[in-house]
Structure formats: C-alpha cells, structure tokens
C-alpha cells in the first residue's frame, strides 16, 4: 500500500483507560460537578484518535461493592444511604484501572471518572468538596485485599488539599501521602499545612506542600524534582498513585494557580505513576481536554510536546521570583522534617499512651458540621488500634473502632472489646472495621 511508509502510533507503555464521563449524572444542574464536565475532554480524546493508538485500551468501570466502601469509610448510617450508584461506579472505575495493571493487561492505568473522592474522610455524614467516598483509597484497599499488601505512595496533585486521603492514611506508614496544593489559608478546605504530619503510627508519612497562589509550571516541577522525587527515592514504594486533580491549571475558575497542560504531562512523565485517578478540575473547556490529553500521552510514553492550550501564553504565566524563592525555602523545610521524622515522632509520642485528634469537619456541599474526636493508641508492636467518637449538627452520634492491617494481638482484642462495650443507648451507630481480617461490623438499637 502506498501510504505504507508511515508509522502508526504505538504506546511505549501499555495504558489502560477507564473513561467514564457519567453523562447522565450531576450534583445539580449548574453545579461544577455536572453532566458537561468531561464532554469536551471526550471530544478531544475522540478527535485525537486515542482509541486507535496501539497499546491504549479502554475499559468500562466496575461497580464498587459495599464491602469495598466499608474497608475505608464509616458511612452514617450506611453505604446505601450516602453513596449513589454514580459514586459506586466512580470508585469502581478506579478499581478497574488498578485491576488492569495488577492483572498485567496494562503497564499503567488512568481512571478518568467522576465524581471525585479525595475530600471524603473516614467518617461520611455527607458530601464534602463534591466528594462522598474516597475513590483512590477504595481502589487501593480493594487492590491490597485482592493482590496482597503493598507499600504505596499517593501523590495528590489536585489544587485543593487532599484532606480525605490524609485522614484515611493518617496512621498508616505503608501509605505515604504527599499532597501539594494551594495554601489552605487561601482555599478550601483550609487544611494541609506542614505540621499535619501523620498519626503516632505514621509520623512523617503524611506530607503537605502548601503552595502560594500564583505558583506556575516552574514551581510545581521544582517541588516534584526537589522534594517529591527524593522522598520517593528513599521511601521506595511498590506502587505510585497520582491523585490527578487538574485545578492547578491557570484557567480553573475555583483556584488561583498557573499550571499548564504541558506541565501536568511533564509532571506525570517525571513522577511516572502506575495509576492515575482524576480528581477535581473544573475548567472544563480550557483545561481538562488538554490536561487529560497530556496525562494520557505522558503515561503512554508518547510525545506530549505539542499539547498546549488555545490561549497559552508563557509570558503571562511566568512565575514571579518571589514565589520561586518561597517555594525553594518551603521545600527545604519540608525535606528536613522528612529526614527528621523519627526524632519528631519521639518528641510527639514520648510518654504518651494515646494521641488525641479533635476536629470539626465541615461538609460544604451538604452544609453539615461534624464534631469529631479520634484517639490513636500508641503501640510499639503495631500502628495501634484507634477509635472515632463523632457527632454532627444533624445528630447521629457514632462510635467507630479501626483495627489496623498490621494490628498486634492485644490491639485486636482491645478493638473488639471497645466495640462490644460501647453503649448502644449513646450512639446512633457503632462500627468495627477489622482490617486485619477484612471484616466490618455495625450495630444499633
């Protein structure tokens, strides 16, 4: 054939793509999380002919089960009452992406699903930051239950602090969580400072990088090269997950950063995650089609140098020198803390039997306020049994016990004892999450 001289595109890394735009689901008709969100991304992916590239395969999502959710969350009162089918599909989409990698069908996978999940914490009274269930955590715990425990790093590149994922892995040193985001003093959810460093069983394994508004390509790649990659080199994860929010983009309507589509692609190329999961990102026309295209190409090992936005103007997006210097100092501080995590840990837990974490959690999407106390046992044999005692301004007090995956026998016994002894008269629901045996109990009047 005459045009046989040309060479069709072939992905260097086999890439599994779960693309599920949920064109029939919205939080409300004009909400950022609406039907239209991935429409233009779909147009761009289709027009570029991504589905014809050898080595890129599209998958439909799985549907997550209640058990998948209960490994991670205490839904009040139950999973069915909190998560919709769309949420179960979004989490199932992330699970499908992980499955493609674990089964060896793909080298890497990207779940382009909605709604997102990284603001969903262990307790779920409602919707926070458009999230009800934490799709990465549900994916990761499903993967660990089916394919064995793994040391994992989650890198959250959404512009908002991944406070849900932080809460879920707060006390788990086998899951390193690094979130870089716009400084919580200037953006929802208002957390994600460097002193949020992990629970007594995992001090130092929760790393926040609060970046000043106006951070651009230079700053993001600086953080990656000078902080994230060196830490990953030392941590040596078996799996890297990118919680791939796309709202650091300069066109995002909800944030104030100056990141670009090419920058996101370059970041993914350098970070080299095994799995990426879409989180936030609401510049649905100006950013998402290009950022998603860039991430797909970078993960597939294809050339992304031609990916750029219609209104891309490098001069306008140049990062001010002041910000560059600020970020440099910030990275140094955080890296020092990471290196000193053992001594910081000793100082925090010295002489203590338990560490108490008291917080108010606001569910902005649903307008609910939660008043929560977490108690982590300081245990020298395991990461320690822990409990949550919580209630909300709508009532519904709960008592929840978590026995961690690495629990020692005394922490297991103590966990069951606390679950049994909790007085059902005082609580709307009482839960026990036994991660060691992968079982979940709950009781109520």
């Amino acid at each position: 054939m005459k045009c046989g001289a040309i060479k069709m595109l072939k992905a260097k890394n086999r890439l599994g793509l779960v693309f599920f735009p949920a064109f029939d689901w919205a939080i409300s008709p004009t909400h950022p999380e609406r039907e239209e969100r991935l429409l233009y991304t779909q147009d761009q992916i289709f027009e570029e002919g991504i589905n014809d590239i050898e080595g890129i395969k599209f998958y439909n999502p799985n549907i997550a089960s209640n058990k998948d959710i209960e490994r991670v969350h205490f839904c009040v009162p139950s999973v069915e009452d909190r998560a919709t089918t769309s949420h179960m599909i979004s989490a199932g989409g992330a699970i499908k992406a992980a499955e493609a990698v674990m089964e060896g069908e793909a080298d890497k996978a990207f779940a382009l699903v909605r709604p997102p999940g990284h603001h969903a914490q262990r307790v779920v009274y409602g919707d926070r930051g458009f999230c009800i269930i934490n799709i990465e955590a549900i994916m990761l715990e499903n993967l660990r239950a089916r394919y064995g425990h793994r040391r994992v790093a989650i890198i959250d590149t959404d512009c908002h602090h991944g406070d849900g994922t932080q809460d879920i892995y707060w006390n788990d040193s086998d899951t390193l969580f690094i979130s870089f985001h716009q400084d919580g003093r200037t953006l929802y959810p208002g957390t994600g400072f460097i002193d949020e460093f992990g629970g007594p069983g995992a001090i130092g394994y929760n790393i926040n990088v609060p970046l000043p508004p106006g951070t651009g390509q230079e700053g993001f790649l600086y953080v990656l090269d000078n902080l994230v990659l060196p830490i990953l080199d030392e941590y040596k994860p078996e799996l890297i997950v990118n919680s791939a929010g796309q709202d650091n983009h300069y066109t995002d309507p909800l944030t104030n950063m100056n990141f670009t589509a090419w920058g996101y692609a370059e970041l993914n190329h350098r970070l080299n995650p095994d799995i990426a999961v879409l989180e936030g990102g609401y510049s649905i026309e100006g950013a998402l089609p290009y950022v998603n295209l860039g991430i797909i190409l970078a993960m597939a090992g294809l050339d992304y140098s031609h990916v750029r936005e219609p209104d891309y103007d490098p001069a306008k997006l140049k990062q001010p020198q002041k910000i560059t210097e600020y970020i440099k100092e910030l990275c140094e501080t955080i890296y020092k803390r990471w290196r000193n995590k053992e001594s910081i840990a000793q100082e925090i837990i010295k002489g203590k039997e338990e560490i108490i974490r008291k917080r108010n959690v606001y569910y902005d999407t649903d307008g609910i306020m939660e008043y929560q106390t977490q108690r982590f046992k300081v245990c020298n044999k395991c990461s320690g049994v822990n409990i949550i005692d919580s209630t909300s301004d709508r009532g519904m007090p709960i008592f929840a016990v978590t026995i961690p995956q690495d629990a020692c026998s005394s922490c297991i016994d103590e966990g069951y004892k606390m679950y049994k002894e909790a007085d059902v008269q005082n609580y709307f629901r009482i839960y026990l999450q036994d991660r060691k045996n992968d079982i979940f109990f709950k009781r109520h009047l």
Binding site: K2, C3, G4, I6, M8, F19, G49, D52
Partner: protein, 557 residues
C-alpha cells in the same frame, strides 16, 4: 427485475431477481487484471433473453478500489493537513506530498488561529511540481467548523480534482481516521471513475436503462453518481453483501451470529435484535483505520482449504491456505478433504482425500472416519471460540452513561446462520459446538449477490448544535448555519430527519425506502459561571441497513 452482482477476490457472483424470486444466477472466476471484463462476463448470461427495459436496477458490489489499493495503482495524493496542537502528527503523512499547515479550530469549533494563504499557495505549487492532481484537505475539528477546509478548497478547486474535504467524509470525531479516509477517497477517485464510465457505457450498449447503484461496506447502496464522489465508501463491501444476503433469507428480531465460510477464511458478523451490527467508527483499510461506515465483520484464517496438520499430538487448522485440498491435487490435508473422506461432499478424488486423512489419523492414533470428524469438529470449535471472544469484546464496549453501564444492551445470540461453500455440511457440526440452532439458506452460494441486489440505500448524518454560539452544523452535507438561542432538541431532530431524507433521495433512494432512525441524541447544558448559557446538542440519524424486500419461496433449508 433487479440484478445484483458481487465481485469477490476469487469469483464474481450475479443474480437476477424478479419479485422476490431468483430467476437466474451466474458465477465466473475473477480476472484480477480485467475486472470490467469479469463483470461483463458474469452479467451476459443473466441478461440473455431478458428485455432490456425490464431491468429496473443494477447493484454492484465491487472490489475495484480495494484492488487498486492492494496493487498500489492508486493516484498520487497531495495532502493538506491542519493538525493543530495535540498529538504528534508525522504519522498522518499518508500522501505523496504532505503539507502540515498553520491554523487551528478548537473542540467547540472556534477558530483559534487562521489559515495562512501563502502556505496554501506553496502547497499548491509543490503538488503541481510533482504532477499531483488529486488532493485532500483535512483539519482537526473540521467537523465542528469546516470553514478552514472550505477556504482552502476555494483556493485549490480550479487546479486540482478531486479535492476531498475531511468534514464531508463523516461527521464523527477522529482526526487521524478523517485524514486516512480523505486520502483514500482521493487516491481511488479516478480508478472508480474509469470503472463507472465503462459500466455506464456497456449497459448503454446493451440498451439497459436501469438505475445503477453501488454497494457500500455498511450494507446499504448509493447511486453511481454519489459513488463517484465518495468512492472510498465502495471499499470492502464484500462482507456486507454476504451479511445482507443472509438477511434476505432469514428475517428475525433476535440476536444471532452470521458466518460466511469460504476456502481461505471465515467471516464473522453479528445481529443485534435482527439488525447487523456496525463497526463503531469504520473499517480498516490495510493498516489504516478509517471513518468508512461498515458492518462489523471479522475475518479469521480458517476455511475449507486451510492447512490441517498435527504438531506434538495436537491437531491444528489454518491460519494459512497452502493450496487446493489434496482431493483436488493440493499439497496438504484440508477440512474439505475431511468432508470428502466422510462422504459428505462429492468432488475430486475420494481416494486422495482418504490419504489426506491418513496423515492426520496416524499421529493421533485414530481411524480415518474419526480423524475426519475430529477435523470438522475442531474447525467448528475454533469458530465458536473466536465468536465467544468477539462477543466478549463487543459486550464490553465503552459506554458513557450510568444507564448504559447498568442496563446497556448485551448481545446474546440465539441462532447461527451460515453461508459459503461448506455451509450445508458444517451447519450440523457447528450446531453441536454452539448449542443453539444453526442453519443455512437454500441459495447459500449466491447469498452475497442477493444481498447486493436487495440492499436499500443508506446514509448517516450528524447534527451538531451549539446554542451558546448560535451555530448548527451538519458536516456530511456541508450545512453550516446560524440559529436562534431558543433552538430546541426537537427542532434539531426534525431537521435531522428532514435532511437525512433529502440526502437519501440524492443518493438514489426511492420514497418507500426512506426510514430515518435517530440513533443518538444528546443534549448538554452549557453552564458558564452559575448560569446556563446555552445547549450543546449532538444528534445522529441514519437508515438501518435493510432490504427492499425479503425473498420468499427461497427460505432457509
């Protein structure tokens, strides 16, 4: 009366049909070097004794363009490609001269940067210097705004012919496929024109004044004039002819499997609720994916003449054909030999067929009859296995809504229809493998020509509306107009149906054939800030492949 003719790689089949009855059939071997002559030799015996004015329609399914591509006898094409940012674009350089131009349209059809006329003039000169007269102009997102393609066309139209514009070949989004489809259309344009002129001339000579149609890969027809403009649509219509032939003999509303078993290959297709399944985007021509609408058909290297051998105590069939069956003097055992050895088929030398089975029986420690039946059962099982694999792929095709994911259609075949040479012999054996009814039509050998004869005219158009920008676009017919902000989905659907009907008439459909069907309707609120600024609508309307009428009296055996 209607004449249907299917030109295949090995044979030309033709059939004369009158009021649903087959009057005559004819079959001659294809002469690859003189395809027109092959057509003529097949038609001649059919029309002998028939009054020329009794023939109302002649429908051709032709490999003329496919052959030209395979034999590298297509025209040189100058490509003007507006690739914009995104994927690397060097893999799109399919023409003999390829100019990548400035200019950029975004996903909503907005111009981001304009074309550069100086560049187009340079391209035009480059083509002229290489004596290239066929061109194609293709832009990324040109189906969302064809303005750049049209402007470039205006600059080229006086000096070049044909000039295929990307947005006219399909309304679907897929830029690389649009490029390849447009390339092929220009590349085979003159080949098809010559063929078409010769056919018209030859029919005139015989005083046949029938309407002339050409079969497309989607199982529908188009008038000869439309085929001349879009000859790319005539490529790979062979499987469609067979599938439509199968339909003619078995009208159903169930899911089913359709098999066309030949000497070298078996083609597999599926029916969903009785309607042949489409390729999601279009066929592949060689290695190149295109937007040529086509019925889904997958070919596997397994047929009556496939090589049969035993390796390490395991029986293997195919994927290659080494020659004729041994019974007909060929080099190695084949399933056809197994049929002859079992007394199911009476051609060639039975003695040689038995010898062929001895080669198989020996290493497997079986007797001749056992070996022969193992060969045929293995063949049936291999087909079943492939069908199951394809069904799994089809049933897991990507969906984009919660509703489709939960309740989407899954194909669950309830029957197998088989045509082709060994159909009659293999049907009962396939039935054992598939465990669902398996049958063949009485005229299974001429089914392809019948399919061509009875196929209806088909077309598909896409209507794209953006009320925020006040634009409506139907790329396939080049309609681009302004609309009011209050334009509704109902307005768009009505227009889509009306335009498709018009388009079908232009393609040669008669009033009775026109049954538009809306296959996709999506409407999205465009929200900017916290207010709805408009609606984004996508409507696709088509005619299903179907038959002018069913055959009667010639139903399944």
């Amino acid at each position: 009366m209607i004449i249907g003719l299917d030109m295949g790689g090995t044979h030309v089949d033709a059939v004369l049909i009158d009021h649903g009855k087959i009057i005559k059939t004819s079959k001659i071997p294809t002469e690859p070097n003189n395809l027109l002559e092959s057509v003529w030799k097949t038609l001649k015996p059919l029309i002998t004794g028939v009054k020329p004015d009794e023939i109302e329609r002649v429908i051709l399914s032709t490999t003329i363009c496919t052959n030209a591509i395979v034999e590298e006898k297509t025209a040189h094409v100058g490509m003007i490609i507006e690739s914009g940012p995104g994927l690397p674009c060097d893999f799109l350089a399919c023409g003999q001269e390829n100019i990548f131009t400035e200019g950029y349209i975004d996903h909503r059809g907005r111009e981001v940067s304009p074309i550069n006329s100086a560049e187009i003039n340079r391209a035009s000169n480059a083509f002229k210097n290489k004596n290239i007269s066929a061109c194609a102009v293709v832009g990324k997102f040109s189906v969302r705004n064809p303005d750049h393609e049209i402007k470039i066309y205006d600059m080229l139209k006086n000096d070049f012919s044909p000039v295929t514009l990307g947005h006219t070949v399909s309304g679907k989004l897929n830029f690389p496929r649009r490029v390849f489809t447009s390339y092929f259309n220009s590349a085979v344009y003159s080949t098809f024109s010559r063929f078409s002129n010769s056919i018209v001339y030859a029919l005139k000579r015989e005083k046949i004044n029938a309407k002339l149609y050409v079969l497309k890969a989607d199982g529908g027809t188009m008038g000869l004039e439309s085929a001349e403009k879009f000859p790319v649509n005539t490529i790979l219509s062979g499987p469609a002819a067979s599938i439509m032939g199968g339909q003619a003999f078995f009208n159903t509303s169930k899911d089913g499997v359709f098999l066309d078993i030949g000497g070298t290959t078996t083609d597999i297709a599926f029916l969903a609720d009785g309607v042949p399944l489409f390729e999601p985007l279009g066929i592949k021509i060689g290695e190149y994916p295109t937007l040529v609408r086509a019925l889904y058909s997958v070919s596997m290297g397994l047929g009556g003449d496939s090589e049969v051998r035993v390796e390490n105590g395991v029986l293997h069939i195919g994927p290659y054909r080494k020659g004729s069956p041994m019974a007909l003097g060929g080099p190695c055992p084949t399933p056809t030999d197994a049929m002859i050895a079992q007394g199911l088929l009476d051609i060639g030398s039975k003695e040689k067929a038995v010898d062929a089975m001895k080669d198989i029986a020996g290493p497997l420690d079986l007797n001749i009859q056992e070996a022969a039946s193992l060969v045929l059962q293995t063949m049936a099982n291999m087909i079943k296995e492939k069908v199951d694999k394809l069904l799994f792929e089809i049933n897991s095709h990507p969906v984009y809504t919660v509703k489709e994911l939960l309740y989407g259609k899954k194909i669950n075949p309830e029957f197998v229809q088989v045509i082709g040479g060994p159909a009659k012999i293999l049907a009962p054996i396939l039935e054992k493998s598939f465990k669902i009814p398996c049958f063949y039509p009485k005229f299974y050998e001429a089914a392809n020509a019948v399919g061509a004869a009875l196929a209806k005219t088909t077309a598909e158009i896409t209507v794209f509306v953006d009320t925020a920008q006040g634009t409506l676009l139907v790329p396939e017919i080049g309609l681009y107009k302004k609309i009011e902000r209050n334009y509704t989905l109902e307005d768009a659907k009505l227009l889509a149906v009306e335009l498709l009907s018009k388009q079908l008439s232009i393609l040669g459909a008669e009033a009775g054939e026109i049954q538009p069907e809306i296959v996709e309707e999506n409407v999205f609120n465009i929200v900017r800030g916290f207010y709805t600024s408009g609606k984004n609508m996508r409507i696709r309307v088509q005619t299903k492949p179907g038959l002018l009428y069913e055959m009667w009296g010639d139903k399944d055996a």
